[in-house]
Symmetry: C2
Amino acid sequence: MVLYNTLTRKKEEFKPLVPDKPTIYACGPTVYNYIHIGNARPICVFDVLRRYLEYRGMEVTFVQNFTDIDDKLINRANAEGTTVENIANRFINEYFIDAKGLNVREATVHPLATENINEIIEMIKGLIDKGFAYEAKGDVYFRAQRFEEYGKLSRMPLEDLEKGMRVEVGEHKESPADFALWKAAKPNEPMWDAPWGKGRPGWHIECSAMARRYLGKTIDIHCGGQDLIFPHHENEIAQSECCNGVPFARFWLHNGYINVDNKKMSKSLGNFFTVREVASKYGYEPIRYMMIASHYRSPINYSYEVIEQCRASLDRLYTCRENLTFAQKHASGEPMANENEIIENVLARRQEFIEAMDDDLNTAGALGVLFELARDINIFTASQPSRRLCDTALTVFDEMCDVLGILYCKEDKSLDSKVEELIKERAKARAEKDYAKADRIRDELKSMGIILEDTPQGVKWRWEK
Amino acid sequence: MVLYNTLTRKKEEFKPLVPDKPTIYACGPTVYNYIHIGNARPICVFDVLRRYLEYRGMEVTFVQNFTDIDDKLINRANAEGTTVENIANRFINEYFIDAKGLNVREATVHPLATENINEIIEMIKGLIDKGFAYEAKGDVYFRAQRFEEYGKLSRMPLEDLEKGMRVEVGEHKESPADFALWKAAKPNEPMWDAPWGKGRPGWHIECSAMARRYLGKTIDIHCGGQDLIFPHHENEIAQSECCNGVPFARFWLHNGYINVDNKKMSKSLGNFFTVREVASKYGYEPIRYMMIASHYRSPINYSYEVIEQCRASLDRLYTCRENLTFAQKHASGEPMANENEIIENVLARRQEFIEAMDDDLNTAGALGVLFELARDINIFTASQPSRRLCDTALTVFDEMCDVLGILYCKEDKSLDSKVEELIKERAKARAEKDYAKADRIRDELKSMGIILEDTPQGVKWRWEK
């Protein structure tokens, strides 16, 4: 599998440091508001990355933080007359609702900045001790010029960078490119004790500290939106590599922007739509579909028309799957004339799907393969496919959908079908006069709180009272 | 505990038929759109009913159906050029997202009408055999006049009812109050085989069939919105009691309307707000709070101002809880001067809370008690409460919140705190030279994928690679 690495500006073969156990760190949202669909893009596409690596047999550790202390949270808490913690908890909860809606799995860990203050302080201490950071009037800054490789991710020489920067009022930097690791306490702000005085962490340091705590000093993949390349990720590299003395992230993956009227969608530009807002008109699933219908590095042009097209595409896939499960239910053991050829075709689609995904997570290509498979399915279900063909096609179809994380609005009929299956098994055991087994099944059902009743219409079940 | 029973028009002592095992059937949404906040009211208040019965030590079986076949679904599917099943699955999924947002637990079973066609057909057959129903041009109708008690729930004599009714074009009823159990097949509609011809079930019969299948012939509590009393629940009683020959539901609970400008909010009046829409501006939790801030039988006047007040009330409770957990963390073993008195007070609040809830689920009163407890907590946390006092108060506070299903936007720090706890336990074991135990704990952590490292700053943990 190859992935495009922002650090080297080329596609590289991806192999985790520890075979089959990749570690991934994704920058998560600042929890002062609902996520907007610009935030939803990395969340969805890197969820696909994780699903795909797992599909290929890997065991992924996926860490995604919540920034729960910064100016935006403090401002909102003050505006609403409540605490920063209330604001954070509220929007963390709303995040999980939207994530569920988008079929994004929970990370292995979702650490919070405020839960990692000790780790952050220790890292800052390490940087001060080594001369990479300095204290100034209660603030602590990173000394960008001390890190020779500063700018290697964004490929901007430090001198060029500094031209566009200036030291703001209230900052005490030696040089404009220096950045805050710690901000001295101000009235009406949360604060923590540190050796150089009370205050709160800067934004960049939390990711360095959490990545190290939960994943170790060198991680396999660090990902996030393009807008984070500079300064956030550049600064993370500086902090982590200067502190730990080893490379920080082996692969840097960045997704493209979402545009509205050719402008990047962002909260700061004020042209953003929250996921909740769009989902309240069109549902969550077309939003996820939109994210995977383009390659993750390409820009997406957002509009309601696009979302409506996504909904229509999803409907075609759902209808195809219904055709297939209907055919499966009514299938016989008899193969169709050209059945082996069709099965080979289905299995070839699986291979094409893998090839697309192996090529830097080409979800757009993978989706194309899925639609070709759907076309094949719509054709053969118009005849009389055998159960074997239906089973094979459904397995491959569902595999692809699960990797992409779509078609999740299928009603879960698991309880009913599980019970029906056990009832059938019991009937079979009785027909074979294996009464011990039949009784075992009845007991198993009883332990689930289900009572079987023999009636003239066959075996019925009901909940035990 | 007393509950107001619509059937008898008075509060009655509630005792489940089978001791401690109440059965509840709640009419769920027709899944052709997002739920609106009028739908959310029964969902929230009967979730509180279930939580409260469980809090009192009962084991509740809670069934809530989805109506996944009816005119509204068929119309929407045709309008969007997709299938009824796609529409149903999509809005079932959206239902679960909204339900999660509102902190409503999943029912024991969420049966679908289309999964229960056999049960429905069998019930209709029973009614035809006994003369309570008749077939007419492929439709099957219930003969309302054959059931002497028809109208007993809505307290409307049948002759009065019939005055306001007429037989619509295309219906083949003997009498206006008769209602469809089965509708003959029409082109472009889903259909199933039945002894009297292809077609689909009427709306009322599905609830009778599912209640019997999943809960038995007599259930403890049937609940839903006031608007369902007539004709839906009246017809359910007629179907179930005529078919089964025993009383259908022992208690009928109905919640009041939500009004906008003094008109009932409903889809048919067009003055409705979806839960998603309101949640996208104010979050889900204030919606739930609004539902429990009034008694479930009172009308609620909805406005954004009300929702904002609910948010402010929630913030007060969150802040109180933060004060308490902060005090708990810094508490000593030393009791305060008047501590026993304060603890008695806290325990008295629990009793008052139970009394309010026992009185026909008086959530408004229960919330009043919670705020009194919060006031007490805010006072004693301003001094130096002992750990025992903090623990007691937090237990009672959380109990009340859990029963009401509020204050659920607390960040789950369970992994971190579980690991920290195990690390502490191990340190203690080592201090006591119980190395076997210390090693056992290290192994347990290892099985969770966590590695311990002894550092000068104490024991650290990280994920195994």
